[in-house]
Structures are given as C-alpha cells and as structure tokens.
Symmetry: C2
C-alpha cells in the first residue's frame, strides 16, 4: 500500500541500454503515456552515454556465450532503434526507474556506470522486466529479497510468478509481463479508478494475479523430451 | 486459410507517420521480432519522407478538432521517437503492411503520398490497428467490406470485435488489439506450431476469439450518466 505521506511519483525513467527488448520498454511506456494524460508527470528515456538512438540488438560478438549461440542458431533478428531523451549524466532525479530486459542485459550488468547509476538512484520505486532484473541484481540491492527469475545466488528467486513486489522493488517475468507489473504498480500507487482507466485506454486486459505465470509450464513443451522434468 | 500456392511472406513493413501510437507499432513489432528468429524475413519501418526519428505526437495545432480538444484538456502527454529504416520512396516491395493508429491518423489519412503508397502496394496482407483503419479506409480499399470501428459510411463497420479478417485485410480494435491481430495472422499464415511459439517468446497470452471485445462495454463507464445507453 502507498504511504499517505509519500509524494505522488512524477518523474519516471526507462533505462535504454544497447540490446534492450522493444516490448519490455514500449509496453510499460504506453501505460505511462496513458497515465501522463491524467497525472502531471515526465517520462525520461535514459541512454548510457550518448543521445544516439539505442538499438534492440548489440553486435553479435559482444553477446554472452549463451545468447551468442542462441542468436547464431537463428535467422538474423529484426532490429529497431528508439531515441533517448537523456543520458545517465543528464537524467533528472527519478521517482520511478524501469529497467527492461533484452539480449544486452549481460553487458549492461557489467557496466559500472549503469550499476553506479542504479545504486545511487533515490527512486522510491524500481521496476524490472524479464532478465532486466539481472542488472538490478548485479548491484547487490536485491540480496536477501524475493524476486522473479534466476541468477545471483544471494537473491531469493521465485520460480513461478508474473511479478513480485517487495519494498521499493517490483520485478516481473518475461517481456509482456512488463505491462502487467506496471499496471499493478499504477493500481497500487494511483488507486483503483486511474488503475482501471489506464489499461482501458490501451484496451489492455492486465493480469491481476501476480502468481499466475502460465509460461513456466508453457516453456516445458520446447525442451527436449529428456529435459521435461 | 493460407493458399498453399502462396509464397510465405518475407517482407514486412510498419508505417510510421508522425503521431503514431507507440504500442500500436511496437506490440506487433515485438511479435515480428519473435517471428524473425524462426522465419527468414525482413521488417522495414517506413516513414513518410525522411529518415528522421518519428514522434508519437504531432504539433498540437495540427491535430484535428476532436483530438486537439482531448489533448488540450489533459496533461501534456509523454512522447517517444522511433527510427525509420526507409521512406515511402525507398521502401522495398512488401508482402505485409501494418498500419498503426494514433493521434496522427487524421493528418496521415489526408496525406496523398501515404494514400498512394497504400493504394499501389502489392502487399498480400494489410493489417491495421485501432484508428489506423481510418488511413486504410481513406484509400477507398475497404468500401463494401466489414471492418472494426467507425468512420467512412461506405464501409460496413463492426461495432464489437477484437479484430476482423476479410480477404487481404485484417483490421483490429484499440492499441493492444494490434498484438492479438498479428498473433492471429501469424497462426493462420505460419501454422499452429510457430503461431504458439511466437507469443510464448513474448510470454504473451493472445486473445484467440476475434469477437471478444470487452472494451465496447468497458468504455461505457467513462461516459456521462445520460450517455450510457
């Protein structure tokens, strides 16, 4: 529940690192666009170090082994580029920071500038989507907390959840779960009326149950038969 | 059903006019990104006349009366900019053209260059999202056909539908319905296996019933009491 003495959040920011996943950022962004029609607020798109457009893919040779093998075994992926409004240096103080996932996460999670920005952020809320949680976890801020997905052993990872909310952190499952976690955050922070209106503007039916994650099971059908257990 | 003599679509394009709605374009784009990992294909982002990034808002004085009043009565909306890869002139021949909606639709629907591009397109499939259908309708290509939403009197508009498929045209309802219509198009065109895999990559649960449109009724709650009938 929102503390009644807390100032309503006004300054929202989305981190745009090279290789971010398009819908991880743009699904939440469209909900924030809808929210911005009824609440005074700003939305910053924050690139690491330049105002050049940021691409949804990184050069294949910079990918981690796991991702490189997966991408090499596939067709060349379509790529899009989104324009940042700020860099880590020029970004205004944020009330809410959203960190998307994507192929670029392993690189971003090793970038000291990114980790320092997150660690020093005074944001009252940090929301992560998909493997973007790995960037937040790399700061150590999640140690001892419950979060979605897997990675750092110090974190109490939750295997099956659409999203997990603990304190200032909201972490969510794959890609489109980013829309559900942001819709849930808006409901809790701005109340039921705005919380219903904003997804309605998008004609989006958000998942309301954070524990309903059908994709843990759905993914089993893509595993080789000897790995289905 | 797909005609078995039809070549599988390989060249996809998304029209990016000033004032396009972010999720109308980026929801379908992320599904196409997923499809591109299993099918050889290209995705072009097509601006009208320059390779400058295209914004999700247009100058307020260029909005149609209806949209201008709505925007003026609200907070200033957050705006994003996406980079095109081509212009109408340089775009490769397309198999599939997707037209998003947005505040810029009334302007785009009066732009002769846009209408000529659509009218002369040899695309086997044209998909529209939200009020983007109005751009397609302005060409006259929909006259006599069944389509979602309202506008041109010559078109047989369907009041309540998530999407409508008739011949080469797939038209869909508001914003996030774009993901459902593209998921439906992928299922029908590439078969059940790829049709399930692609939304699973996004951890997205698509609406499978084109007639299920809860938002026609949901919107009634925002009308003044004397307009609820």
């Amino acid at each position: 529940m929102t503390n009644s003495t807390t100032k309503p959040p006004q300054s929202f920011g989305v981190l745009l690192f090279p290789g971010f996943a398009l819908l991880d950022a743009c699904g939440p962004l469209e909900l924030l666009n809808g929210l911005s029609s009824v609440v005074p607020m700003t939305v910053s798109l924050i690139a690491v170090d330049s105002l050049e457009p940021v691409a949804t893919m990184v050069p294949i040779e910079t990918l981690s082994d796991d991702f490189r093998k997966r991408v090499e075994s596939q067709q060349p992926l379509a790529v899009q580029r989104l324009c940042p409004t700020h860099t880590l240096e020029t970004c205004p103080p944020l009330d809410v920071l959203l960190i998307p996932g994507g192929f670029g996460v392993p690189n971003a999670a090793k970038d000291e500038r990114v980790l320092k920005f997150i660690t020093e952020s005074k944001a009252q809320t940090i929301i992560t989507v998909c493997n973007g949680t790995g960037i937040l976890a790399a700061t150590g801020l999640l140690d001892g907390k419950k979060e979605v997905t897997s990675g750092r052993p110090q974190v109490n990872w939750v295997q099956k959840a659409r999203w997990v909310h603990e304190g200032r952190y909201w972490t969510s499952s794959g890609i489109s779960a980013g829309m559900d976690v942001v819709a849930a955050y808006i409901r809790e922070t701005f109340g039921e009326q705005i919380g219903e209106l904003v997804p309605d503007i998008l004609e989006y039916t958000p998942e309301l149950n954070p524990d309903n994650d059908p994709f843990v099971d759905a993914w089993k059908k893509y595993l080789p038969p000897n790995q289905t257990e």
